[in-house]
Amino acid sequence: MTSVEEAEPSGFQRVVLTNASPYQYLKIRLVLEDERSRLSDVELKSFIIAGLKSLHGEVGAALNFDVLKYDEESLTALLRVYSRGLVKLWSSLTLQGFYQNQACAFRVLQVSRFTGISSLEEPLIYLLFHVTQKKRISHFPHYCHPLP
């Protein structure tokens, strides 16, 4: 973390913070095979923790993350995770394939450094087309697996 500060007598001050943001935010949607099934926020969090545990073991299961917001109807959640845990969390979400013996998938809708994440253009699409579902391939961040 570095910061550059320029202070001038006139009162103009500029501070540049690089790599200082402590958290990353993910907007995710759980897609279940049986669209009628619902799960509560607590169940969702335990499900994600189970995924972390299977991919990254006990060290992964100990990763701190928060479910900031969860909508049971659309199975959409807003997660907050420490920046250094982002790759672990994201990769475990990607590899989560079954929820109680039914196929499922997490769609990572957006990843951001700020909670302003809710400004996904989704509402605009609703506004214009009433599209019911927006699909986005969850891009696994490329910096996770550079070629050896």
Binding site: V15, N19, L68, Y70, F114, G116, H139, H142, P146
Partner: protein, 349 residues
């Protein structure tokens, strides 16, 4: 094979602190730099309903047009250039195209047309361009940027004809396109609109009244926590201030006051920087009224899949985040401006 799992993309946040009365303040020029605004949200503490003048500003955001399946060469149309591009500022952005997988097009108010193309399309087009900075490993994306107001791009000129034939006969690029014009509005775009399937849209205004909001001290709070809190209010995240909850340990940073009421207003659509300027002026007037809490915050989000970031620099969506700025205005004309960028290289102005 086993890269460091705790590595994260580079982040950048610029915090400016100054006063509107200071002749050196650059707020208006900074506001102009973010061209494609998707959403503006305003938080008014201790406010039940916005005053009529403020409300009228919210409702008078310029409407924008959506054209379905617009062939991009139409943007080079001579009449369109003369009636719209040369006459004022056009904001145009391809809609429902993904910056990382589709061909994207943007027309900036300064008359610059930018195309972000994949390799095949770029080779088909046969026009000068440069590799995108967001290529990873192989060169798979290219950026073509032309200034339509330049003399070489005048209708009939060599560059103009080359690009026109490229777009017309080689690469028949068609996308849904969002368009708005300042100051002419729809009238100056009418010729283009009439030829295609189009619709007019008013930016959507939504208001939310919040009560019993735990609020940090805006002047002393750390920028990241403050932005997080503002975002959480905007996203309607419950904040019970108990860090022991299983679900979430999110707490209000340095909570010091509880606001009885607050009003959160957001406007979304393809918005013009000019309208944001008007809103800032109106908010400054609003702040001059005697009241309890003497600050307001204004957050402006850019399109995630926009292909230009601050100014005219290239924007890539893959590396996370989006462009936005947050302006915190106080009673005594001072302000804090937090600018952020998604890209790894550019610093906001």
């Amino acid at each position: 094979m086993c890269a460091d799992l705790s590595r994260t993309p580079r982040t950048l946040l610029v915090c400016d602190r100054s006063s509107f009365l200071d002749h050196k303040n650059r707020v208006s020029s900074q506001v102009e730099q973010l061209h494609f605004i998707y959403k503006v949200s305003v938080l008014l503490p201790e406010c039940n309903s916005a005053s009529s003048s403020l409300d009228s500003v919210f409702n008078s955001f310029t409407s924008f047009y959506l054209i379905r399946k617009l062939p991009i060469y139409e943007l080079l149309d001579k009449d369109f250039l003369q009636s719209a591009v040369y006459q004022g500022s056009v904001h145009g952005l391809s809609f429902r195209t993904r910056i990382d997988e589709d061909n994207c097009v943007a027309l900036m108010p300064n008359g610059r047309l930018t195309l972000s193309l994949d390799k095949d399309s770029f080779e088909l087009l046969g026009f000068e361009g440069k590799p995108s900075r967001f290529n990873h490993r192989s060169c798979s994306r290219f950026e073509v940027s032309v200034d339509l107001t330049d003399s070489s791009m005048a209708p009939g000129g060599r560059g103009y004809l080359r690009l026109l034939t490229g777009l017309k006969s080689h690469l028949q690029l068609q996308t849904d396109f969002l368009l708005s014009h300042h100051p002419g509005g729809g009238a100056s775009l009418q010729a283009l609109l009439s030829r295609y399937d189009w619709s007019e849209h008013k930016p959507k205004v939504s208001r939310r009244c919040l009560s019993n909001l735990v609020c940090p001290a805006p002047r002393s709070c750390d920028p990241h926590s403050l932005l997080e809190w503002l975002g959480a209010v905007d996203a309607d995240v419950r904040c019970e201030n108990s860090s022991s909850s299983f679900l979430s340990s999110f707490v209000c940073p340095e909570a010091n006051t509880t606001l009885g009421h607050a009003l959160s207003v957001s406007v979304s659509g393809l918005l013009l920087p000019h309208d944001v300027q008007r809103l800032i002026q109106e908010l400054r007037c609003y702040l001059q009224q005697p009241q309890l809490e003497s600050w307001v915050s204004l957050t402006v989000h850019g399109f995630t899949d926009s292909l230009v970031s601050w100014g005219g620099s290239e924007h890539g969506a893959l590396i996370g985040g989006q462009d936005f700025y947050s302006l915190l205005m106080f009673h005594d004309h001072t302000y804090r401006l937090y600018l952020s960028t998604a890209t790894c290289h550019t610093c906001p102005p």
